[in-house]
């Protein structure tokens, strides 16, 4: 799901709120995350790398926090959360921020909420550069578990996408084996593997925007994973966490310098 700040002043370009969001950039390292609960077997440092098989899992059901240090005071306007259990176990979550001054005062960056499922989350909010952030969690009977978090500045694409796009959470791919007997009996199907997939095509991109905003993402996508929301306001739950199939390839589209680019991605989160 995606949360948009209650503050009407959303960004310097409010008309872009409904446009696709790519969350790839993150200020987090193993030295800038900590948590109230940090078990040896499922430590909080697992949140930093993009592998979704490794996760942080708390050992308590108390209200608790994960802390993030923005030591470089970088601009931050999103947090992405992948492979969590907030929906299935009814865990309230909320992002808060602090200047780090003493006494420390925590400001609500987002409202608290319980997602409808365990799909990837992007919380998108006013850009700011607080020194410290924290993810507040109020579990029920089950301790919280998260595989990966990104905290940073989102790439908001300049145009919305509609016709021809396959929303990632709806575009399931499965490798299935059908079994039929010699005399025509149906013997069932076995699903070997399942994943999500989509593709994005962007046209009429200014050369400056591609070079300043998209190209860093293209570089990251060579080895890294990212969050993607194709229509964040209208379909806030349709968010994927995955990786590109192939390269992000730009092309000069028009004689006036406008560019186009595209990529396809696969997700399991």
């Amino acid at each position: 799901m995606i949360h948009v700040s209650n503050n009407l002043y959303l960004s310097s370009q409010p008309s872009l709120v409904g446009n696709p969001i790519i969350g790839y950039q993150s200020v987090l390292t193993i030295n800038t995350v900590s948590a109230d609960s940090d078990p040896v077997d499922t430590p909080v440092v697992n949140l930093v790398n993009e592998q979704t098989n490794q996760y942080w899992e708390s050992d308590t059901t108390d209200e608790q926090y994960i802390y993030f240090e923005n030591t470089g005071l970088e601009r931050i306007d999103y947090i992405g959360i992948a492979r969590h259990n907030f929906g299935s176990t009814q865990i309230t979550h909320q992002l808060q921020a602090s200047t780090g001054e003493s006494p420390e005062v925590w400001l609500d960056v987002t409202s608290d909420s319980i997602p409808g499922d365990d799909g990837a989350i992007i919380l998108f909010f006013d850009q700011a550069d607080y020194l410290r952030y924290r993810l507040r969690m109020i579990p029920g009977d089950t301790p919280p578990r998260i595989a990966h978090i990104k905290l940073g500045q989102a790439l908001v694409l300049p145009q919305s996408i509609y016709v021809g796009h396959r929303p990632i959470t709806l575009n399931r791919k499965a490798e299935v084996i059908n079994n039929t007997s010699e005399n025509g009996q149906f013997l069932g199907r076995i699903e070997k593997r399942r994943y999500l997939s989509t593709a994005v095509e962007m046209t009429h991109i200014t050369p400056a925007f591609y070079r300043s905003d998209v190209d860093p993402f293209a570089e990251h996508a060579i080895t890294g994973a990212f969050f993607f929301a194709w229509r964040p306001v209208q379909y806030p739950t349709e968010v994927g966490f995955g990786w590109t199939d192939g390269d992000v390839s730009p092309e000069n589209q028009m004689p006036n310098g406008m560019m186009q680019f595209g990529f396809s991605m696969t997700a399991v989160a």
């Binding site: 098989n53 079994n179 007997s181 013997l187 199907r189 699903e191 399991v268």
Partner: protein, 729 residues
């Protein structure tokens, strides 16, 4: 809709130290034993003396969206490729099951693998890759346990099917494309020659040379006797073999066969002697005593129950030089009629006798996957004759040296159809080092098993089944399919045995071999004497072939026509001794040959005593027996003729008749099995079978005739008494 979401995992057990670096008893210290902390692996250990072994299990999975988070894993498993084991009933251990697991490389933050990842001063995720670091930490994982686990979303891990293997090899490291693979096999791989030999090569050598008359030797290096050799046993040195006893490094050679001189430094090789044992016990000792297999993989009582119920014979062999355990298993499988394979799910080695199996599954067109059935002829497997060589004499001779076997039993396929079809001859020869000379029933049974199963070339069937079916390796099945028809075109079925089974996420791939077997009736204890032998002890011969006799057992001994059971004992011991038996055992002896005591020696002129020696006893029993001697001979040994001496002149007597005739001095007429000898004069002829030797007229006495029978009161004759020469009591 019936859709199941498959999950595949691979678990790998690694040897790891349970201690913490630098915490007692670990004495490692940075700057002293190394420049950085270890990784708790054997390769990186800085204090090997205190390495405290435990197991680290890594779990990998095939990546899919539905990987359950409650089963922690690394989703870097790319593929699992299985080559299933192939059974070879009655012939060998078959082909091993082999699994090749392919992984892809990736960054990794070492959580769960490196205890000290937070102390390294860098983010392991940003340095190196998983498999490259892995091979540096654990370069040697051969022999480690590897498991392939398959199930479906919603299953608990412990409820999924787990198949157990032993790591055989790895690709050595990820390749340029980040691919890394591990190959593992089922545990019977541990029987291979490069891994297991029986007996083990001995390291004891002669401390000094011996010649062919010596009865003792000393081993070196000092202490090797206690280290490697039992208090008594069998041995080989070059082409010589025999028995020994030992005290410290001193060996007493209690018997020597093919004795010869031996040089200082020559190896004194300890052998193994299986003396009339159950095949299950033999195989168990070979597996657990000479391989690295976990003994828990073999449930000996199950093996023993199978051989007791369906084999009921004992087997014997001297193994005098190291041989591959795998080859020894293959020999017994083919000579006893066994099926042995690995149950990689339940971690058991299964032993079955070749016998009639009740079909446990009927498979037809409603379950066989469309277009999956393939039927192959196997013409090379057809057999028209079986020649079983048994009763090996010299255990050091080559196994296929035919003249080294005392008996060959030919089994012929009796099939008029084969004759009409003018099928070519197909002879299979079996050289059995495990079937003793008196164990013809074992050779007959072996011939019957092979001729019945292979008189027609068994067809091989390959097909697939849905995963919901539960075929069992080694089980009997019937297969009915539109491609299997009788001569009228009606769909019929083939009876077969599953010899290979491969399971993927969605299907079973089955290979089955057509099976024909005639159930052997529970046998009497048959003992056949088909070759000349000496001083035969029935009880000893019986116990080499069968388990201990019990009340109600029928023992039937047959001496073949033309065969002689003789005596070489100079003390006159019986040629045939029935021995002691528990009450209630029924013993029948059918003599179609000859039982004969040894001949007495003729008196020798010049000796203190000039009397001839008594002939030897032919047959003795202290236990009730039924004796059919109607076409046989029981002859006591002839007494030796008297020598004489009178006024400085004399002569020697002739030896008495016997299978080992009595001695007649040189110059006389030697005794034979049917006539006594004659010494240097006409005085003192040796006695014929069952007759005394001649006295001399000068007061010397010929040897008494050997008795034909001792224990006559225990004998019930069946039919005519036959040719009995000599006294009875």
């Amino acid at each position: 809709m019936t859709v199941r979401r498959a999950l595949t995992y691979c678990e790998l057990d690694l040897r790891r130290c349970s201690l913490d670096y630098g915490t007692a008893p670990c004495t490692a210290a940075i700057g002293v034993t190394g420049t950085r902390k270890c990784y708790n692996s054997p390769k990186t250990c800085q204090d090997p003396d205190n390495f405290s072994a435990t197991t680290l299990t890594l779990r990998f999975a095939m990546s899919t969206q539905d990987l359950p988070p409650e089963i922690p894993c690394i989703p870097s498993l790319k593929s699992v490729s299985t080559k299933p084991q192939v059974l070879n009933p009655g012939e060998s251990l078959g082909e091993r099951e082999s699994v090749t697991v392919a992984f892809e490389d990736h960054p990794f933050n070492d959580v769960g693998i490196d205890k000290y990842h937070a102390d390294r001063g860098f983010d392991p995720y940003q340095r190196g890759t998983f498999w490259s670091k892995f091979v540096a930490r654990w370069p040697y994982i051969q022999g480690s346990a590897l498991r392939i686990i398959r199930g479906y979303v919603g299953d608990a891990l412990e409820d999924m099917e787990t198949r157990h293997y032993i790591v055989e090899d790895t690709s050595g490291g990820p390749d340029a494309n980040g691919n890394f693979s591990i190959t593992a096999k089922d545990p019977i791989k541990l029987f291979d020659a490069d891994k297991a030999q029986a007996p083990r090569a001995s390291t004891g050598v002669l401390a000094s040379a011996i010649d062919d008359n010596d009865s003792s030797l000393t081993l070196e290096p000092t202490g090797v006797g206690n280290d490697e050799y039992p208090a008594s046993g069998v041995y080989s040195m070059g082409d010589e073999w025999g028995t020994f006893t030992r005290s410290g490094d001193n060996i007493a050679l209690t018997s020597r066969n093919n004795p010869s001189d031996h040089e200082e430094g020559e190896t004194f090789q300890l052998g193994i002697f299986f003396d009339g044992e159950d095949a299950a016990d033999i195989l168990y000792e070979l597996a657990t005593g000479y391989t690295d297999i976990d003994p828990a993989q073999i449930t000996l009582p199950d093996w023993q129950a199978e051989t007791n119920d369906y084999i009921d014979r004992q087997y014997s062999r001297r193994i005098l030089r190291p041989e591959s355990v795998k080859d020894l298993f293959n020999e017994l499988i083919s000579q006893v009629g066994l099926l042995i394979y690995s149950d990689v799910i339940n971690q058991k080695i299964i032993l079955k006798a070749l016998r009639e199996f009740t079909a446990v599954q009927d498979l037809d067109d409603s379950v066989i996957i469309k277009d999956s059935l393939d039927i192959d002829e196997q013409p090379d497997k057809r057999v028209s004759q079986v020649w079983t060589f048994y009763g090996q004499e010299n255990p050091l001779e080559k196994v296929d040296e035919e003249k080294n076997y005392r008996v060959v039993l030919v089994g012929l396929v009796d099939d008029s159809v084969a004759t009409l079809e003018q099928r070519k001859q197909a002879v299979r020869k079996i050289y059995s080092r495990w079937i003793s000379v008196f164990n013809r029933p074992a050779a007959e049974s072996l011939n019957n098993i092979i001729t019945n199963r292979y008189k027609n070339a068994p067809r091989k069937l390959r097909f697939q089944l849905p995963i919901t079916e539960q075929p069992t390796l080694g089980a009997a099945i019937t297969v009915s399919h539109r491609l299997i028809q009788d001569e009228e075109g009606t769909q019929t079925s083939i009876r077969a045995q599953i010899v290979s089974l491969d399971k993927t996420e969605s299907r079973w791939s089955v290979v089955a071999e057509e099976m024909t077997f005639v159930q052997e009736p529970a046998p009497d204890h048959i003992i056949n004497i088909d070759a000349n032998t000496y001083n035969f002890k029935l009880r000893t011969a019986h116990d080499q072939i069968y388990a201990d006799a019990q009340s109600g057992d029928n023992i039937i001994v047959t001496i073949a026509p033309g065969v002689t059971v003789g005596s070489k004992l100079t003390g006159g011991g019986p040629a045939f001794y029935v021995g002691d038996w528990p009450a209630g055992v029924n013993i029948t002896i059918i003599n179609k040959g000859r039982i004969q005591g040894n001949g007495g020696d003729g008196g020798v002129f010049g000796n203190a005593s000039l009397n001839g020696s008594a002939g030897g006893l032919a047959f003795r029993t202290d236990y009730p027996v039924t004796l059919d001697n109607s076409s046989g001979q029981i002859w006591g040994g002839g007494g030796g003729g008297a020598g004489f001496s009178v006024a400085g002149y004399g002569g020697s007597g002739g030896g008495g008749a016997g299978t080992q005739p009595g001695r007649t001095v040189a110059g006389g007429i030697q005794a034979t099995s049917v006539s006594g000898g004659q010494g240097s004069t006409s005085i003192g002829k040796g006695g014929g079978p069952g007759l005394p030797g001649e006295d001399s007229p000068y007061g010397q006495f010929g040897g008494a005739a050997g008795f034909a029978i001792q224990g006559e009161s225990f004998i019930t004759f069946d039919g005519d008494e036959g040719d009995i020469r000599g006294g009875r009591f």
